[in-house]
């Protein structure tokens, strides 16, 4: 590589960093003040792109940039004031769920409005050509982009340090309750911060147009990039986000230049994992102040009452009889529901009682599924052996990743789990020889004695129920009590000799192992696996199931998994906009039943008494 091409790659990286910084800065601002992790931030970026394409036909590219950004800002203000405002007192995971519902709705809106094809953006008038840098052509527009990043950083810095609005924002970022007690108008503040964050997202999207087309897939991809930048830079630190965006964009640019373009899918997550392990609060972040005020005092998780147990046993018996009545489609759906119920219960095991919110639980589901597929297809192991061994692979993965993850907490932990899941995903996506790459593996069928749908259903029923019962049993053993003690009061738990980290590590591993069972069962029931089975979306599906069911309830994840699987199936057949429909159902549930489906019983009981 010559010095010139190194310089050009460096400039290329700088250009890529600008848009990334804008998006991450918006995410960071919103999180700082409202404490909402805005999953829909990538969707706002996507809208910015599409709107800029549409608007540039009317007003031309340069005017389309601010117009698209302002339109997205307006939408952000609307989202905050209509939806999120109702959720500020809700548990943070519920807020996350609501923003994820927005992802689904916005994605389908864009699909409806602009269709499934990528939209090619216009060239920037006046900057469509190239300039010559040391004898090499370099796109003029990219030079403009390079200037945008520092310009926006400077503008934000002035806004935050030189205006009253900025002072109030910095105060609220540090202690919003105190700011409120001093009379800072929180409604106005939250709405305006959200609008500014959305503006930056929209602008970040629109600015990318001459470099890449507007596409529907951008939403989750961009938001995970932005999360990485924010976490690497340190939550709430704009200079940190700037440095992190530079670092990541540069490393990516050089990966491509050196011919390791496959690495770009994971390299940012590797950087994040590295940074979080070495500097848990990010490059320029500070350790968060210990949570103030009452951690929502959660009622202890009750063991199922005899009545609930009797109900569950009846349900089990009824399920066991289903194959006698039908072996058609219902049975396939029920098999899926059972598999995902186990997946959701294993996620609930760590995110509820252990308090470790994992955004990457699909990694272990996927490891189980791929483990089973690889053993069966590549090594030719019998199905029984594959099914028994694959979960160990998932458990091993969880043991390895978990060691890093339990060193962190809260949002940092969530991001690290996401990073590991992304790494696992990109290995599956790219290792063609073993995992089949993007096509995945096909032809993973159960042993002959389980070949009928009914027999396999019984196997799944037996294994899933046994596994779920085991997990529940563990929650009400001394292990489970110690786990909850460590979640609720780390200091006191430590004082009575509970080694919180070791416990959480063990819980993480166990949860991974059980997710692996679900994954292996899933592989054999479908006959195939694709990298989708461990993508971010699958991890989020799991969270949605747990939260729909109610994270503070024991049986909730069962109902959440069943409802979600059924909804996805019923809507996906014959309705193009099923994602939006699921999004609306989630929003309705979040607003009406903040405790999840599992709280419905208690709610009805209380109303009955009243």
């Amino acid at each position: 590589m010559s010095a010139t091409s190194i310089l050009l790659q460096f400039l290329n990286g700088l250009a890529g960093a600008s848009a990334l910084f804008l998006v991450a800065a918006g995410l960071s601002l919103i999180f700082g003040v409202t404490r909402i992790v805005n999953f829909a931030h990538g969707s706002l970026v996507m809208l910015g792109m599409y709107l800029a394409v549409a608007l540039s036909e009317v007003v031309g590219f340069w005017w389309a940039l601010p117009c698209a950004a302002l339109a997205v800002a307006g939408l952000g203000a609307l989202i905050e004031s209509v939806l999120l405002r109702r959720l500020y007192r809700a548990p943070e995971l519920l807020q996350l769920l609501a923003t994820f519902a927005l992802v689904l709705i916005i994605r389908d809106y864009a699909l409806w409005q602009w269709g499934p094809e990528d939209l090619l953006g216009p060239r920037a008038p006046g900057m469509a050509g190239a300039v010559t840098i040391i004898g090499q052509p370099f796109p003029a527009y990219d030079l403009f982009l390079i200037a945008v990043g520092p310009a926006v950083l400077g503008a934000l810095w002035l806004l935050l340090t030189r205006t009253r609005w900025g002072t109030l924002v910095r105060a609220a970022t540090q202690d919003r309750e105190m700011a409120s007690a001093l009379g800072v108008n929180q409604r106005l503040q939250f709405t305006s911060v959200f609008a500014l964050g959305a503006l930056l997202a929209g602008l970040g999207g629109a600015l990318q147009l001459p470099r890449e087309p507007a596409t529907l897939k951008v939403d989750l991809a961009v938001v995970s990039d932005a999360f990485v930048v924010v976490v690497v830079g340190g939550l709430g630190s704009l200079p940190g986000a700037f440095v992190a965006a530079l670092l990541i964009a540069e490393v990516k640019a050089f990966c491509i230049a050196l011919g390791y373009s496959k690495l770009t899918l994971v390299v940012e997550f590797l950087i994040m994992a590295l940074v979080l392990v070495l500097r848990p609060w990010g490059l320029m972040g500070r350790m968060p102040a210990p949570a103030r005020g009452p951690a929502a005092l959660e009622p202890p998780l009750a063991a199922p009452s005899p009545r609930v147990l009797a109900g569950l046993c009846t349900l089990l018996a009824a399920l066991a009889l289903v194959p006698l009545a039908t072996t058609g489609f219902t049975l396939v759906l029920l098999t899926d529901m059972l598999v995902f119920a186990l997946f959701a219960v294993s996620l609930h095991f760590i995110s509820g009682p252990a308090g470790l919110h994992s955004f990457g639980h699909a990694a272990y589901f996927g490891l189980g599924a791929y483990g089973a597929g690889i053993l069966a297809l590549r090594i030719g192991a019998p199905m029984e052996l594959s099914l028994a061994t694959a979960p160990l692979l998932a458990g091993g993965g969880a043991l390895l990743f978990g060691w890093f993850c339990v060193r962190l907490s809260g949002i940092y932990l969530a991001m690290l789990t996401l990073a590991f899941a992304q790494i696992a995903w990109s290995v599956a996506f790219q290792w063609d020889a073993v995992t089949g790459g993007s096509n995945g593996l096909i032809g993973i069928w159960p042993a002959p004695w389980l070949a009928s749908k009914a027999a396999y259903f019984w196997l799944v029923l037996a294994l899933a129920c046994a596994a779920i019962a085991l997990l529940w049993r563990a929650l009400h053993s001394p292990f489970g009590y110690a786990l909850r003690a460590a979640r609720d009061s780390p200091l006191r738990a430590d004082a009575i000799g509970i080694d919180a980290r070791a416990l959480q590590w063990a819980a993480f591993t166990v949860a991974g192992l059980f997710a692996g069972i679900a994954g292996a069962l899933h592989a054999f029931s479908k006959g195939s696996i694709s990298p989708e089975s461990m993508a971010v979306a699958r991890s989020v599906d799991g969270l949605v199931m747990v939260l729909l069911g109610g994270i503070q309830t024991l049986t909730g994840p069962l109902w959440g998994a069943a409802l979600f699987t059924w909804l996805q199936d019923a809507l996906a057949r014959g309705f193009d906009y099923w994602r939006a429909a699921i999004g609306c159902v989630i929003l309705a549930l979040v607003l009406a039943l903040p405790g999840g489906l599992g709280s419905l019983g208690g709610l009805l009981k209380r109303q009955g008494r009243a």
């Binding site: 910095r170 001093l182 009379g183 005020g293 005092l297």
Partner: protein, 233 residues
């Protein structure tokens, strides 16, 4: 000015305040006394809307405020200085004051940063200092000054003398008396009886979330048995 009826509040399932009445007249300085954990801080937080009252009513200048968000209560002219001070550590002294600034209010003293620097001369000498690098006493003064920037009609002051050196406690008492002279109505909690005696007109004694005694500060002064019963550690 401030009227509390049957106030009950707590954290989650743990109830802390068990329904009591309390009233403050304009210009009055009342000390809320009681042992550790009696619920003094919780009372102030409940009045400010930081801990939503579970039952009872709070009226401030004739307006019902127990359902309002803290910032709305603050904008009606009730100010709050928390026990932990809660200075914005990343912000300078001037910026901390700026956060507390609210529009001029009819019938209340109009505070400016300049006037507050006269009341707390120490602060005037460190306008650009970051809140995080100030001493405990300086933070306490800043916290009070910051609340005054809202031109309040009444002030809730949680343990103003806690953790301060005797000289600073003296200065603090002087400042509180000065505020009283300006006509501010103050409800403060104290563990330090000497401090309370110096500044308060009236004493209210809380025990396990209930009001056990109310009366003139001088009456408490003259009654060692009462002090023994509710206040001795």
């Amino acid at each position: 000015m401030l009227e509390v009826r049957a106030l009950a509040a707590g954290y989650g399932r743990a109830q802390v305040l068990f329904g009591f009445d309390l009233a403050l007249r304009a210009g009055e300085l009342v000390a809320l006394l009681g042992r550790n954990g009696a619920g003094k801080s919780t009372t102030l937080k409940a009045l400010m809307g930081l801990v939503p009252p579970a039952a009872g009513e709070v009226h401030f200048r004739g307006e019902r405020i127990d359902r309002l968000a803290p910032w709305r209560i603050a904008r009606l002219g009730l100010a709050y200085v928390p026990e932990e001070r809660r200075i914005f550590t990343d912000l300078s002294v001037t910026e901390n004051l700026e956060v507390g600034r609210l529009p001029r209010r009819e019938g209340a003293v109009h505070w400016t940063a300049q006037r507050l620097f006269e009341l707390f001369p120490n602060l005037g000498r460190m306008r650009d200092r970051r809140g995080g690098s100030m001493s405990g006493g300086e933070q306490q003064m800043l916290s009070i000054a910051r609340s005054l920037m809202g031109n309040p009609l009444a002030l809730l002051l949680d343990e103003p003398s806690e953790g301060l050196a005797p000289v600073i406690v003296d200065a603090m008492a002087g400042a509180v008396l000065e505020l009283k002279r300006e006509g501010l109505c103050v409800l403060l909690t104290e563990q330090n009886l000497r401090f309370a005696r110096r500044v308060a007109d009236r004493a209210c004694i809380l025990e396990t979330g209930q009001l056990r005694h109310q009366g003139a500060m001088s009456a408490l002064d003259a009654d060692p048995a009462l002090r023994e019963r509710y206040l001795a550690a």
